[in-house]
C-alpha cells in the first residue's frame, strides 16, 4: 500500500506560518526512497524545532545508515511550532516527515532522539498530531513502534507509558539490528502482531520494552522492585557501544539545510566517551570508554564533509576535544591544509590549561582571536574537588592570563550553581576568581581592554552518575546565591565593568530534575502539562514553571520528593534495571569520595579504577597515538 504525500494539503498552510522553509524538506544530501520497495520504514524524530533538530549528529548518522540498507528507508520529522500545529489541527493535516511529507503514522518505527528531557511534551504533540494513541497500551497493529534513544533514554521511565521501546547508547549497530528483527517479523507475516515484534526485540537484551516490566512500590512511595512480567524478557537491559569509530565514518553525506539552523558547520566526532570523571556529567559516565577516531580518518572526514556540504566551518566534536591523543597533530594538519581557503576550524574545548590555548591559537592563524571558553565548573577549590574537576585557582589564573597575553580579548568562564554540598561561599568564590583573573590579566597585558564573562548553569543530578543519590538544590537557594553573586560582581568599582554575568533562574532546573530522576508516575505530570498547552519546554519563552507545578499538584506528584530529596544507598532507583555498565558500588563509592573531597584520576593515563564499564560491556579504551600525519591535500 503506497502512501500519499501530504504536501498538497500542507502547502496552503505554509504562507501563514513563521519560517515556512523548515517544513519543505529538500535539503542537500537528503534521501527519498520508494515507499513500496522498502520493507522496514523508520521515521526519525528530533523532538525540537527544525533549526535545533536538523544539525543533530545522532539523527543524521542514523538517517544515513538506515537509508544505506537496501530494504530499509528513513525519513525525518521535527516538532512543528505552535502556529503550524494550530493550522494542522484545523485542517486535519497529520504529523509529516520533511523528506517526502509522508504521514508519520504510516511508518513501522518512530525513532525519537532525546538529548534532553525537555523534549517530552513535544513527543506528545507529535504523537497526537500523527494520530498515534499517546499511551503505548492503546496502540494497534496500525501504529508505529515508538522508540526512544539519546542520553535521556538512559532513564526513560517518566515517558515509559508513551513509549513502546527504548535503546541505550550508540545507535548505529542497534538501529540496524532492530531493522533486521522487524524485517524478519514482517516477512513471516507479522506473527503475534505488535507484541510479537516487541517481544522479539526485548528478548535480545538490547531493547527495553517498558510494558514488559512491572514496577512495584513500597508504602512510602519508593520503588520496591522492577520485574519482567513475561517469559523471555531479561531482567536487565544493556547499553550499546560502537567499537572502532574508524569503521563508522558518518556522516558521509551531511545534510545541508536551506533554513538557518543553530549549527552552521560540518561536525566530525573525533572521539566518543570521556573518562575525566567529572561527577556531575552524565555524558561522561554513560559513554565510556573513550574511543578515538584516528587522525587520518578525521582528516578524510573533514575533506569529504567540506566537499559534500560546502560549509565553511568545521567543528571537531567530542566531550573534551583537547584530550584526543593526537589533537596537536590534528589541529596543525588541518590548519595547514585549509590555510587560505576561508575555511574556519573550531574546537569546542573547555579545558583549563595552556595546551588548550595552543590549540586555539593554531585554529585562529588568520588573526581572529575573539573569545575563549574555560570551564572550571566550581567556584571554590573545595567545590572542584567535590565534582572532580581538577583545576587549581593558580592553574586557572595562569591559563587565562596566558590567553590574554596571546591576544585573546574575551574569556568566558563556565560554572555551575546548586552542586552537592555547595555553600554560599562557594558561589561567591566565583566573583573573587573573576576579579583575580581580570587583575592578573591587566597586569600581564598592561591593557584594560580585556573582559571576562561568567556564565552559570543550574546543576541537575542525573541518573547513572555518582550524584544520582544527591539532593537537588531548591530553586530559591540557587536564585539567592546567584543574586548575591551578581551584586558582588556589579558593585565592584575596580573590576565590575570588565566582568559580564550570564545566568538563568533556578526554576527550569527543578523541572529538568523531576524529568531526569522521575519514575513512571511522572508520566501523568507530562501528559497534564501537555494537555494544558505545554510545548517546547527547552525554550524560555514557552516554558512555564507554574504549569508544571500546577500539573504535578493535580496528579498528586510531589516534585520535592523527586528532586530535593537525597536517596540512600540501597533505594531502588527507577533506572537500576537499565545498565550503562557502571558498577553501582563504584558509583556509590565515588559519591562518598565526592562528599569527602577525594579526587579520582583519568583511566586513560592512570591505572583502571574499576568503574565497571569495560568488563561489563566487553569494551576497552581505544586511543592513539597512531604516529600518522595529515599530508597536504593535492586539490582543495
Amino acid at each position: 500500500m503506497s502512501v500519499e504525500s501530504l504536501f498538497p494539503r500542507l502547502e496552503p498552510l505554509l504562507p501563514k506560518v513563521q519560517k515556512p522553509i523548515q517544513y519543505v524538506g529538500g535539503e542537500l544530501n537528503s534521501t527519498v526512497k520508494d515507499w513500496d520497495e522498502a520493507t522496514v520504514r523508520w521515521a526519525l524524530m528530533y523532538p525540537d524545532a527544525y533549526e535545533v533538530g536538523l544539525p543533530n549528529q545522532g539523527v543524521q548518522i542514523l538517517y544515513e545508515i538506515l537509508n544505506e540498507l537496501p530494504d530499509t528507508m528513513a525519513e525525518r520529522t521535527y516538532a512543528v511550532w505552535p502556529d503550524l500545529e494550530a493550522l494542522m489541527r484545523a485542517e486535519g493535516v497529520p504529523q509529516f516527515t520533511v523528506d517526502a511529507h509522508r504521514p508519520v503514522r504510516a511508518f513501522d518505527v518512530l525513532g525519537v532522539s532525546f538529548s534532553t528531557e525537555l523534549g517530552y511534551t513535544n513527543l506528545l504533540t507529535a504523537l497526537d498530531l500523527a494520530g498515534i494513541p499517546l499511551h503505548a497500551v492503546d496502540r494497534t497493529d496500525d501504529d508505529p513502534i515508538v522508540l526512544a534513544g539519546g542520553h535521556a533514554a538512559f532513564n526513560p521511565e517518566p515517558i515509559a507509558d508513551f513509549l513502546d521501546a527504548a535503546v541505550l547508547g550508540d545507535g548505529e549497530q542497534i538501529a540496524i539490528a532492530i531493522s533486521e528483527v522487524i524485517r524478519e517479523w514482517k516477512n513471516e507475516g507479522e506473527p503475534g502482531g505488535r507484541d510479537g515484534v516487541l517481544l522479539r526485540l526485548a528478548e535480545t537484551g538490547g531493547v527495553y520494552v517498558p510494558k514488559f516490566y512491572d514496577v512495584e512500590y513500597l508504602p512510602d512511595g519508593r520503588i520496591k522492585r522492577v520485574v519482567p512480567n513475561r517469559p523471555g524478557v531479561p531482567s536487565r537491559v544493556f547499553k550499546h557501544t560502537v567499537m572502532d569509530l574508524d569503521e563508522w565514518p558518518y556522516p558521509k553525506k551531511p545534510l545541508v539545510p536551506l533554513a538557518e539552523t543553530v549549527h552552521e558547520r560540518f561536525s566530525v566526532e573525533i572521539f566518543r566517551g570521556c573518562t575525566r570523571g567529572c561527577r556531575f556529567c552524565q555524558a561522561g559516565m554513560i559513554t565510556r570508554p573513550v574511543r578515538e577516531r584516528s587522525i587520518t580518518v578525521i582528516g578524510d572526514m573533514v575533506a569529504n564533509g567540506i566537499k559534500e556540504s560546502g560549509f565553511n566551518e568545521v567543528g571537531l566534536l567530542s566531550l573534551s576535544s583537547a584530550d584526543h591523543s593526537e589533537i596537536a597533530e590534528v589541529a596543525k594538519g588541518l590548519a595547514d591544509r585549509y590555510e587560505g581557503t576561508n575555511t574556519s576550524l573550531s574546537l569546542p574545548s573547555t579545558r583549563v590549561d595552556a595546551f588548550n590555548i595552543d590549540l586555539a591559537n593554531e585554529f585562529s592563524r588568520n588573526g581572529r582571536r575573539s573569545g575563549l571558553t574555560f570551564a572550571p565548573e566550581g567556584g571554590s577549590e573545595r567545590m572542584r574537588k567535590v565534582i572532580n574537576k581538577m583545576v587549581t585557582e593558580e592553574d586557572l589564573i595562569r591559563t587565562v592570563t596566558t590567553a590574554y597575553t596571546q591576544g585573546w580579548r574575551q574569556v568566558k568562564l563556565y560554572f555551575m550553581c546548586g552542586l552537592p554540598t555547595e555553600e554560599d561561599i562557594d558561589v561567591l568564590g566565583i566573583a573573587d576568581l573573576a576579579k583575580k583573573v581580570i587583575k592578573a590579566g591587566r597586569e600581564a597585558t598592561g591593557s584594560r581592554d580585556i573582559r571576562c564573562t561568567v556564565s552559570i548553569g543550574g546543576f541537575v543530578p542525573k541518573p547513572h552518575t555518582p550524584f544520582q543519590w544527591a539532593a537537588q538544590c531548591d530553586h530559591e537557594t540557587v536564585d539567592r546565591r546567584l543574586r548575591e553573586l551578581r551584586n558582588s560582581l556589579r558593585n565592584d568599582k575596580q573590576y565590575g565593568k570588565a566582568i559580564g554575568f550570564r545566568y538563568h533562574d533556578g526554576k527550569p532546573s527543578i523541572v529538568e530534575g523531576l524529568l531526569s530522576r522521575g519514575d513512571r508516575r511522572v508520566g501523568a505530570v507530562i501528559k497534564a502539562v501537555w494537555a494544558d498547552g505545554g510545548r517546547f519546554d527547552g525554550w524560555s519563552e514557552h516554558f512555564s514553571y507554574e504549569r508544571w507545578m500546577k500539573a504535578s499538584a493535580e496528579v498528586g506528584v510531589d516534585v520535592d520528593w523527586f528532586t530535593t530529596r537525597e536517596r540512600e544507598e540501597h533505594e531502588v532507583l527507577p533506572w537500576d534495571h537499565l545498565d550503562a555498565g557502571l558498577d553501582r558500588e563504584w558509583l556509590w563509592q565515588d559519591w562518598q569520595d565526592a562528599v569527602n573531597d577525594v579526587e579520582v584520576e583519568d583511566c586513560r593515563w592512570t591505572p583502571c579504577y574499576d568503574c565497571g564499564v569495560c568488563p561489563t560491556m566487553g569494551t576497552e579504551i581505544q586511543i592513539g597515538p597512531t604516529g600518522r600525519k595529515l599530508l597536504p591535500l593535492t586539490v582543495v
Binding site: 536551506l258 560546502g310 588573526g367
Partner: protein, 244 residues
Amino acid sequence: MVQRLRVRYAKRGRLRFTSHRDISRALERAVRRAGIPVAYSAGFSPHPKISYAGAAPTGVASEAEYLEIGVSRACDPLRLRADLDASLPPGLDVLDVVEAHAGSLADRLEGSMWEVRLTGVDPAEAASAVTAFLAAARVDVERLTKKGLRAFDARQAVQTLTVAENADGTAGQEPIQSCVILRMVVRHETPAVRPDDVLMGLRLVAGLAPPSPPAVTRLAQGPLDAITGEPADPLEADRVGDHL
C-alpha cells in the same frame, strides 16, 4: 577580483519559501561545492563577493532574480552557469549568466512584472476591483514592517494591472475551483510596493477578499520599456558589451 558575472536565477516551487538569507547561504555553499573561484572581501571576516539585487519576498516565486559574483580568476559564463546550476538545489535554477560590463545592475532594475493567482475568486468581481483600483488617484494601504505599521500609496507605482481567468487550464488541477490571474507591472520605488500591497488595495477599494493565500510569481524585472511599459532584459546591455 578580475571579473564580475551577472546571474539570473529562478526561485521555484517549494523553494519559494526560502528567505533572502536562506538563499544567500545556499548560494555561498553552492559556489564552494562547485569550486567557483569566488573573490573574498578583505578584513577579519572575509565574505564572498556575491551581491543581490532586489530579492523577491519569502513565499513569492520568481523567474527573474539577479545577483552578481566577483571572481578571482576569469570564468567562462556558460561554464559557470552549468556548474552553479548543478550545485544549487532543484528549485533554485540558474537561467542566464553574462560577464558584467559598465553600469550598475541594480540601477537597471526599474520595475517588475508580477503574476498573482487567486483561487476561488469570481472573475467578474476581480475585474471590477481592478477597474476601481486603476480609477483611483491613490490607494492608501498599511503594512506591518519591522518599524511598525506603515501607511503608503499603493496605486501610483502600479504601471499596468490586468485580469484574466485561468487561461492555461493547468493539467491535473481541480477544475471546479476557478482561478483568476492578475498581471501587474510595478515600478520599484520607495517605499517598495509589493503585490500583496496591491491585493490589500483591491480589498480596500472593492472588497476583493480571496479565500486562500495568493500564489505570486515575479515573471520579469528590468528597465521599463518606454513603449510597452514592460520590463526588458536587464542583462542585454552586458550581452551587447560581450560582442564588442
